[in-house]
């Protein structure tokens, strides 16, 4: 579904991604793990069109989307929950969700998806008219995910959804990710919590300072000595 081939991404003189290739098959959960500063967010930001790769291609459902404007990429069906959630803290929960559906104009479908989001995240329904900035961290993560789902994506990019959440909430969020995937959305999951990520993913890539150093099935990687040492705490 998504195929990245040999992309190089720079921040000015900083060479952040050094020839990365990876593939996300339709229907799967693929995870990208790596330490701080490895380039995980940079990869997702490049897929979403916030950054342009200097070389290389990004193919989504057969079309090269590398360098396309961000709004076109959302319209193709790729949505992102960015690192740190980046909800619109000064707007209401409902307005945040409406903005998630910005590219759509089918008011019936939007209403239906809003209902779906509220069913998946009942706490958001209760707090519909609350200012989003006053939500708890877990609720903000749910809002960010609900907002991304409002565009009805076929590929959902998640950047460290477990960041800063209590263990119980992390479990809940991962259960929801599995549900979203089960209902037909392909997922590319960036995580530092490698244990959890590998437990729900089918495929995994390890990123180190801008390069993919390991890849394989999630099972293979969770059993690999190198990964255990570096990311799974032994």
């Amino acid at each position: 579904m998504l195929k990245i081939e040999d992309i190089n991404v720079y921040y000015g003189a900083i060479h952040a991604l050094k020839g990365i290739s990876l593939e996300v098959p339709e229907g799967e959960i693929v995870t990208l793990i790596g330490a701080n500063g490895a380039g995980k967010s940079t990869t997702l930001r490049t897929i979403s069109g916030l950054l342009k790769p200097r070389t290389g291609t990004i193919t989504f459902e057969g079309k090269n989307i590398a360098g396309s404007p961000a709004q076109d990429i959302v319209k193709q069906g790729v949505s992102q929950v960015p690192e740190g959630r980046r909800i619109f803290a000064n707007m209401s929960v409902l307005e945040n969700l409406e903005l998630g559906a910005y590219i759509r104009s089918d008011s019936k479908g939007i209403a239906q998806d809003l209902e779906n989001v509220f069913q998946r995240f009942p706490r958001l329904r209760e707090r519909k008219s609350q200012v989003a900035g006053t939500l708890s961290g877990g609720e903000q993560q749910m809002l960010a995910m609900g907002r991304a789902l409002m565009s009805r994506p076929r590929l959902l990019l998640l950047d460290e959804p477990s960041m800063g959440l209590a263990p119980l909430l992390v479990k809940e969020i991962f259960a929801i990710i599995k549900e979203i995937n089960a209902s037909g959305t392909t997922i590319l999951l960036v995580e530092q919590n490698a244990n959890m990520a590998l437990s729900i993913a089918q495929k995994a890539y390890v990123l180190e300072t801008g390069r993919i150093t390991l890849s394989g099935t999630a099972k293979e990687l969770s059993e690999s000595e190198a990964v255990r040492k570096a990311y799974l705490g032994g």
Partner: protein, 296 residues
């Protein structure tokens, strides 16, 4: 009524009507700042442009007040969008100082280009509306002041509606809050920026037309002082905050009128810039602003 109170109310009336002009201009400054963090120094000149468009619409094309106002707003909106497209957009990723200097360049271009095009001579703005004077308990209110206030309130109500209730308004707030997050929603940020310049310029143009009617004289440099004062008003209210611009504008107008009425009109401008110094010293984020560090 004793003469002090009478004078006070009189200056309050004058100040509110002048202040609503500042508020209309300040809204454009604050919206553009909110969305691209640029102090658009050419904004005051858009106000001048609006006054001239209405002047020619009424004298050459014999349009009445209302259509002339609309024409001024539309033409200025188009010019505002064009300026953004060709002067500011190419500098989107350039250092702020480069964009700021460009804005000053655009301002000078409009002022001196304006002189070349329409001559530096002040023009007499035609009396488009019936004049009337009302006496309410010793306070004199003229019909233009009422019209200025009414038009300003209507435009501010429309703006508030657009920003809070429409899709493009929500997109404006989203872009102003977090540009990248807005792009992830599929919002075409360039389009939203164009729209913001269009609305801000249209409001400034309306202010220009209202001033033309009120003082019945316009000239190519008429935008400099009100532009600066509206900028102070935007900072006073909290730059980037729409109700702040409205509040700041009205306060500026009232302070100026009070200073002119009770002290001397020679100190009017000093008072305006005194406010800027005070606010920057004691409350740099403005009356309605929260004290937060600027996002990077």
């Amino acid at each position: 009524m004793d003469s002090f109170l009478q004078q006070f109310y009189q200056q309050l009336v004058n100040g509110i009507s002048l202040g609503s002009i500042y508020a209309l201009i300040a809204l454009g400054y604050t919206m553009v700042y909110g969305i691209i963090r640029l102090i658009n120094f050419a904004h005051g000149d858009i106000y001048m442009l609006g006054a001239y468009v209405a002047f020619f619409a009424t004298t050459v094309f014999k349009l009445p007040f209302f259509p002339a106002l609309i024409a001024a707003m539309v033409v200025s909106a188009l010019v505002g969008v064009t300026i953004e497209r060709f002067a500011y957009r190419p500098l989107r990723n350039a250092p702020k100082i480069a964009v700021l200097i460009t804005a000053i360049g655009v301002s000078l271009f409009l002022e001196y280009g304006g002189m070349l095009a329409v001559s530096p001579q002040p023009r007499t703005f035609p009396a488009l509306l019936p004049t009337g004077i009302f006496h309410i308990g010793g306070v004199v209110i003229n019909s233009y002041q009422i019209i200025i206030l009414a038009v300003s309130l209507i435009l501010m109500a429309i703006l508030t509606y657009i920003v809070h209730r429409t899709k493009i308004g929500k997109a404006m707030r989203a872009v102003s809050f977090d540009n990248d997050a807005a792009r992830l929603m599929g919002i075409d940020v360039d389009r939203v920026i164009s729209f913001t310049f269009a609305i801000g310029s249209a409001l400034a143009a309306a202010a220009g037309v209202l001033v033309g009617i009120y003082y019945n004289s316009i000239d190519p440099l008429m935008g400099i002082m009100p532009g600066l004062k509206a900028f102070v008003a935007a900072v006073l209210g909290g730059i980037g905050i729409l109700p702040g611009a409205m509040l700041g504008g009205v306060i500026m107008g009232v302070v100026e009128a009070m200073v002119s009425g009770f002290i001397s009109s020679t100190f009017r401008d000093a008072a305006a810039f005194g406010i800027l110094i005070l606010i920057l010293l004691f409350r740099p984020s403005g009356l309605l602003g929260k004290n937060v560090r600027e996002k990077v």
